[in-house]
């Protein structure tokens, strides 16, 4: 089994070399003429006003939260799906019960208005 992962490990090491090369080559070939006006952050052609840290909406966090719970659920479901042939019918029913408990959570989040974007 580890031989399969060897390919992936080598790919993780070798694949970034191409983008790194694509960044290193311009650092050799391209002109370098920095001046303070060019390095200013972009704000539609006007001077930057205020800090980069603006108060962001809490809605982003709500969605990430609901996503986390569903992510864990889905990861649990994958071994269940792989073992389908060996499961009796009640094994399938139990898995669906697992899904339905989290559907209750989704409906709760829906009714409480967590999934709104104001």
């Amino acid at each position: 089994m580890l031989n399969d992962w060897l390919f992936i490990g080598l790919m993780l090491l070798i694949a970034p070399i191409f983008p790194i090369g694509a960044i290193v080559i311009p650092s050799i070939l391209a002109p370098k003429k920095p001046n303070p006006l060019k390095s200013q952050t972009y704000e539609c052609g006007i001077e930057t006003v205020g800090d980069t840290w603006v108060q962001f909406k809490a809605q982003y966090y709500n969605f990430a939260l609901v996503f986390l719970v569903f992510d864990v659920e889905i990861v649990f479901l994958f071994p269940w799906a792989v073992a389908f042939n060996q499961l009796p019918l009640y094994g399938v029913i139990v898995g669906i019960l697992f899904i339905e408990v989290l559907v209750i959570g989704l409906v709760y989040a829906w009714r409480k208005g967590i999934l709104e974007w104001f």
Partner: protein, 169 residues
Amino acid sequence: MSPLQLIFILVSAITLGAALMVVTTRNMVRAALWLVLTLFGVAILFVLLEAGFFAVAQVIIYIGAIAILMIFAIMLTRRIAHDPGPQINTTWPIAAVIALVVFGLIVFFVQGWEKTVSQPAPFPPGFDPLRELGVALVSANQYLIPFEIASILLLAALIGAIVIAWDKK
């Protein structure tokens, strides 16, 4: 030194180094990114233990959901990204001595225990660990009850987080 041990030492060194950077870095977003590297190192350790499923589950849940949740949380709070306080506690020599002693004791006991092996036992032929995990999760005499309780636990966590995050208008 087999190549597996070499890779293990390298990956463990990276993981521990990144974990050290998590707690010593002053910038919180940088700390979150070092945490991502730590979690990735743990995933590679799972692969070395021939538990491929747990490696990808680690990446999906910890890096893909929890790390992103943490980064969102850091960016949603204003102005506490920099910690100007002192990095080192004044009682650090005593803490270092205690840590070394505990480490020495753990190494001594783990090496002395006869069940510690340097190579995991190979699977019997025809044994597919992933399929067995799936069957075990829904078998009544194995892990069915924890499986269902896990779903209720997730539901409780979701409801709890919603109650906390809910804006009572």
